[in-house]
Subunit: 142 residues, 2 copies
């Protein structure tokens, strides 16, 4: 199968969330750069580094068969020539659950490669529903 | 006071963690770009966007008077001409506590400005002590 090419970081991001919703491992890994320096932090999870660890984590997640609908909002874009950084809220509805989970704050980083834009970092963490000052939350360390 | 100039992303990162340890708001905000597009997610916290929200959050954190020692490890660097992305583990010892908290996985993004490198994004989240596959953790959504 020929690898997809993503002409913009936005195209790569769309493909990332489509693969997440579809639960398709090969489509997910097409979005990622094949690199030992890629990084993925799933919400509540340890930092994973390198293509093999990242692929294995998505394989395990998709193996659960849980289906998700993901609505991405509140995008902030920070772009350079070679790297693009997107900060978004992921509003995730798990199939069979009546309402969305609290949003996930996600940082997505894309690299311009010889074959289009690829994801090189995904960092997700559960975010309180209502933005509040950190000092009000007991969980905050800094 | 003249603003500091950070010739490399690494210099900006060093200044960020020095300011965090010192609890000095002005030193902390010297590290950040003065921009409406900057983003900060404190561990367990909501996403904050824009200079004012980010400054206010650090002011509240430092007002607690809690002193920290931060040892940064496991750095992965993804660099472009204008943007640099560092993924690190923050090993934080809170003064008065016998041992370090579980590490924080942090994504730090720096922008090359006319006045040296500045932080434009900080995303921290508590990471399990031992890296494990996400599917083993009950907290993982994806």
């Amino acid at each position: 199968m020929k690898k997809s090419t993503f002409p913009t970081p936005q195209d790569a991001e769309a493909a990332f969330y489509e693969a997440l919703e579809a639960g398709e491992l090969e489509a997910m890994m097409e979005v990622w750069a094949e690199d030992e320096e890629i990084v993925c932090v799933h919400p509540g999870g340890a930092r994973l580094a390198g293509y093999d660890q990242v692929r294995e984590s998505w394989a395990q997640i998709f193996a659960s068969g849980q289906r998700l609908k993901v609505h991405v909002s509140n995008q902030v874009v920070l772009s350079g020539m070679m790297l693009a950084v997107h900060s978004v809220h992921e509003n995730i509805l798990v199939q069979g659950e009546p309402r969305s989970r609290p949003p996930v704050a996600a940082t997505n980083v894309y690299l311009r490669t010889g074959n289009g834009w690829r994801m090189i970092l995904h960092h997700g963490s559960p975010a309180p529903q209502t933005p509040r000052a950190p000092a009000e939350s007991p969980k905050i360390l800094h």
